[in-house]
C-alpha cells in the first residue's frame, strides 16, 4: 500500500504498468485517473494545498478501511498538490483484488472519500480572480452512499 503526494506532473500509464507488475494472484486491477477541468475557460489553474504528513496519514487510514472492507490485496494512491493546469492528472487510484467487483467498488469508495473528505484545500484561479472551493453537494452525497451500506 502506498499513498504519496507530488508537486510534479505524473504519467498515469507508467503507474498502472508498475502496479500490475509481478502479480500472480491478482485477478483484477481497477484504476481511476482524475484530470483537472478547464471549466469552459473559468479555471486557468487549480491550486491544491495539503498538510504534508497529516494528509497522507488521513488518506492512509481510509485506505486501511478499504483494504479490510473490500478484502483488497494492494492500493496505490498518487495525488498532485500545488498548481495544476487543465488536462493534467490530479489523482491516480489503483486497487488490486482477487476478483473485479471488489477492485471496482474499492476504487469508487476511495474516490468518493478523496473528493469530499480528504485534507486538501482547493483554489481555482481564473480570469475573474481566485476562489476557494468547497465540496459540492454531489460530492457529499456520493460519500454518504457508503455510510448506509
Amino acid at each position: 500500500m502506498s499513498v504519496s503526494l507530488t508537486d510534479r506532473p505524473f504519467e498515469p500509464g507508467a503507474l498502472v504498468t508498475a502496479f500490475c507488475a509481478g502479480r500472480e494472484e491478482t485477478g483484477a486491477v481497477a484504476t481511476f485517473v482524475g484530470l483537472a477541468r478547464a471549466e469552459k475557460g473559468r479555471a486557468t489553474v487549480l491550486e491544491l494545498e495539503a498538510y504534508p504528513g497529516f494528509t497522507e496519514a488521513a488518506i492512509g487510514e481510509i485506505v486501511d478501511a478499504a483494504m479490510r472492507r473490500f478484502g483488497l490485496q494492494d492500493v496505490v494512491i498518487v495525488h498532485r498538490v500545488g498548481r495544476i493546469a487543465p488536462g493534467e492528472a490530479i489523482v491516480f487510484v489503483a486497487t488490486a483484488a482477487g476478483h473485479r467487483r471488489e477492485a471496482f467498488e474499492a476504487c469508487d469508495f476511495l474516490m468518493d472519500y478523496l473528493k469530499s473528505r480528504a485534507p486538501f484545500w482547493k483554489k481555482e484561479h481564473g480570469p475573474g480572480g481566485a476562489r476557494w472551493i468547497e465540496p459540492t453537494d454531489r460530492d457529499r452525497t456520493d460519500a454518504t452512499r457508503w455510510d448506509q451500506e
Binding site: 494545498e49 497529516f54 496519514a57 478523496l114 480528504a118 485534507p119 484545500w121 482547493k122 476557494w132
Partner: protein
C-alpha cells in the same frame, strides 16, 4: 515556542502561513493570535475550523509542549 501553521483561506486572510508564537496551551495561543489580529482570531474560532497538534486532531483544550506544531485547518475541500 509553538510553530503555528495556517491552511487554505485562513492563510490568505492572515497573510502568513507559518509563524512561531509563545504559548503554553491552545487557549493562550488563540488569545495571542487574536490580540495580534482580531479578525484572524475570530476566523480561527469559526465553524468547521479544526485544530491539529503535532499532526493529530484535537478537540477543545490542549497543553503545548516546547516546539509543538499547531495547525488550523479550515473545512477540507477534498482533492
Amino acid at each position: 515556542m509553538a510553530r503555528v501553521l495556517l491552511f487554505g483561506r485562513l492563510a490568505d486572510q492572515a497573510g502568513w502561513r507559518d509563524r512561531r508564537i509563545e504559548a503554553d496551551d491552545l487557549a493562550g495561543l488563540r488569545a495571542a493570535l487574536a490580540a495580534a489580529d482580531p479578525e484572524l482570531g475570530e476566523a480561527l474560532a469559526g465553524p468547521g475550523v479544526q485544530v491539529a497538534v503535532d499532526k493529530v486532531l484535537v478537540r477543545g483544550e490542549a497543553v503545548l509542549t516546547a516546539g509543538a506544531e499547531v495547525a488550523f485547518l479550515p473545512p477540507m475541500s477534498g482533492g
